[in-house]
C-alpha cells in the first residue's frame, strides 16, 4: 500500500476505533450487564440482540469489517513503534506503550472470544447464559476474560483521548489534561459494568 495513503488510513483507523467499534464495545458491555439480573434477563436481551432485523448486515458493517480493519492496521502501527518507557517513564509514554500492548492482546482475546461464541452459534450452539457460565467456570478463562474486558475498556478510553488529539479537538495541554481525567472516568465506569457482568456468570 502506498505510504501516501497512510494519512487517510490512519485517520480512518482512529475514527473506526470510536465509531462504530468503541460504541459497540460500550453497548456490548451494557447488554452483558443484564446477567446481573439473572439468567432469564440475560437470555432475553441476548435473544433480542441476536434477532435484530438485518442482523448479518449489522454484524458485518458495524462490527466485523471496522473491527478487522482497526485490528490489523493497529497491529501494523503497534509493531512500527520502538517503545522507550525505560528512558521516558512519563504517564503519556506509558499510555502509548499500554495502548499498543492492550491492542495486541485484544486481537488474541477477541479472536478467541468470537470463536468461542459467534462461530459456535453459527455451528449450531446456543449462545445463552449457560454457555457463558460454562466458559467462566474455568478459573483460567475467568482471568482471561477479566483481562480482556479491562484491556478493551482501557484501549477504548485511552483511544478516545488520542482520538481527540489526532483530529485536533484538544490542542492545549490543559484541554488534554481535562480529557485525560474524563477518559479515566470512562475507563472506570465501563470496567465496573464489564467486570460485574462477568462475575454474574460465576
Amino acid at each position: 500500500m502506498s505510504k501516501e495513503a497512510d494519512f487517510y488510513l490512519r485517520r480512518l483507523h482512529s475514527l473506526l476505533g470510536i465509531i462504530p467499534v468503541g460504541l459497540f464495545v460500550a453497548q456490548h458491555l451494557v447488554i452483558n450487564h443484564f446477567a446481573t439480573r439473572g439468567p432469564e434477563a440475560f437470555n432475553n436481551a441476548s435473544n433480542f440482540m441476536g434477532n435484530l432485523p438485518f442482523v448479518l448486515f449489522l454484524e458485518w458493517f458495524i462490527i466485523y469489517i471496522p473491527l478487522m480493519f482497526h485490528a490489523f492496521y493497529g497491529l501494523y502501527i503497534a509493531f512500527t513503534a520502538q517503545n522507550n518507557v525505560q528512558r521516558y517513564g512519563t504517564f503519556r509514554n506509558w499510555m502509548f506503550f499500554l495502548q499498543r500492548l492492550t491492542g495486541i492482546f485484544l486481537v488474541i482475546f477477541i479472536a478467541w472470544h468470537v470463536y468461542e461464541t459467534r462461530i459456535q452459534k453459527a455451528l449450531g450452539a446456543d449462545v445463552d447464559f449457560d454457555m457463558m457460565a460454562n466458559i467462566l467456570s474455568n478459573p483460567f478463562m475467568l482471568v482471561f476474560y477479566i483481562a480482556g474486558v479491562l484491556a478493551a475498556t482501557f484501549h477504548l478510553a485511552n483511544g478516545l483521548w488520542s482520538f481527540c488529539v489526532t483530529w485536533g479537538i484538544t490542542q492545549s495541554p490543559r484541554s488534554q489534561t481535562i480529557v485525560t481525567y474524563v477518559t479515566i472516568g470512562a475507563f472506570l465506569v465501563l470496567s465496573v459494568i464489564g467486570v460485574r457482568a462477568l462475575f454474574a456468570f460465576v
Binding site: 505510504k3 497512510d6 513503534a81 528512558r87 488529539v165 485536533g168 484538544t170
Partner: protein, 264 residues
C-alpha cells in the same frame, strides 16, 4: 597550612569517570571505552571530550584514538553537540559534569546514522525542512513590496517556536521515529505551524499541509508526548502537533468536498 595542601592535592587528583560508546566507521561495530578525566570545577561534557582529545589515553592507561564529536556554538543554540548522556538525549555543551551520576555514559543519537563515535548525520532533518518548505518565500522577478504586518503578540508567541535548532533530540526521544517509519519528527510539525503562522508564510500553507499529509507526516505521531519532555528549548511540540492535526483535518475536508480555496 598542611591541611590546605592536602585538600589541594586531593582536588587535583579527583577524576571523572566516562563510558563512551565508540564507533570507528559508519559501518563498523560500536564498542564501549572507559576514560578517567581529571576533574576541573564547572566542567561540561565537551571540556572532558577536549581533554581526551588533548591526551587520548583510556581508563586502563592505554593510548587510544581521540573521541570525535560535533559542536559549534557552545551555548545551546546551534544543536550540533546533541548526544545521549546517561540515557537521555541533550546538548553536551550545557551538560555540566557535576549534575550527572558517574560513570557518565555518552552515546551517539542512534536514531540518526552514526558517522563516527559521537558524530551523527542529521541530514534527514534538513531534507525534511526542505520538504515542508520551512521558509517564507519572498523572491520574485519584481519587487513584491512589503508583506502584511505581523501582530506583535503573535510575533512573541511565534518566537518561542522559532527557537528550534534542529538538534534532533525530539526525534531521538520519539518512539515513532525509527527505521520502520518515515516520520519526519515532532520538530518538523512545529516548523510547519511556525511558517504557516507567519503572515507571508501562510500564503503557502496548503503546500506545507499537503506535505505533512503525505509520507512521514503528522499521522505518524502516536502521542507518547516524549518530545515535549525532551525538548531543550521548551517548545510546545505537542501543542504544535495537535494544531497541525486540526489544520490537516480541515484541509482534508476541503480537499474531499472540493473547495476551491487553496489558502484561507
Amino acid at each position: 597550612m598542611s591541611t590546605t595542601a592536602v585538600q589541594e592535592q586531593q582536588t587535583a587528583q579527583k577524576t571523572v569517570q566516562f563510558e563512551i560508546l565508540r564507533q570507528d566507521k559508519a559501518d563498523t561495530k560500536p564498542y564501549w571505552e572507559k576514560f578517567a578525566i581529571p576533574y576541573r570545577p564547572n566542567m561540561n561534557v565537551i571540556a572532558a571530550l577536549m581533554e581526551i582529545q588533548r591526551n587520548p589515553v583510556n581508563a586502563e592507561g592505554k593510548k587510544t584514538t581521540p573521541v570525535v564529536w560535533d559542536s559549534n556554538c557552545l551555548e545551546e543554540v546551534c544543536g550540533a553537540c546533541s548526544m545521549v548522556i546517561n540515557g537521555r538525549p541533550r546538548q553536551s555543551c550545557t551538560a555540566l559534569v557535576d549534575q550527572f551520576t558517574q560513570p557518565i555514559r555518552l552515546e551517539p543519537m542512534k536514531t540518526f546514522p552514526v558517522v563516527r563515535d559521537l558524530i551523527v548525520d542529521r541530514e534527514f532533518m534538513f531534507d525534511s525542512l526542505k520538504k515542508i518548505k520551512a521558509w517564507v518565500p519572498i523572491d520574485g522577478t519584481y519587487d513584491l513590496g512589503e508583506g502584511p504586518r505581523m501582530p506583535e503578540r503573535k510575533r512573541q508567541w511565534a518566537y518561542e517556536l522559532s527557537k528550534c535548532m534542529t538538534c534532533g533530540v525530539c526525534l531521538e526521544a520519539c518512539p515513532n521515529v525509527n527505521d520502520k517509519t518515515n516520520f519526519m519528527g515532532p520538530a518538523l510539525m512545529s516548523q510547519v505551524r511556525l511558517f504557516n503562522a507567519h503572515p507571508t508564510g501562510s500564503m503557502n500553507k496548503d503546500e506545507r499541509l499537503a506535505t505533512v499529509m503525505g509520507d512521514g507526516g503528522i499521522t505518524e505521531c502516536g502521542n507518547s508526548q516524549n518530545c515535549v519532555v525532551a525538548c531543550p528549548k521548551g517548545i510546545p511540540l505537542t501543542t504544535s502537533i495537535a494544531s497541525i492535526s486540526r489544520a490537516t483535518t480541515v484541509q482534508m475536508f476541503k480537499n474531499f468536498f472540493g473547495s476551491d480555496h487553496m489558502v484561507d
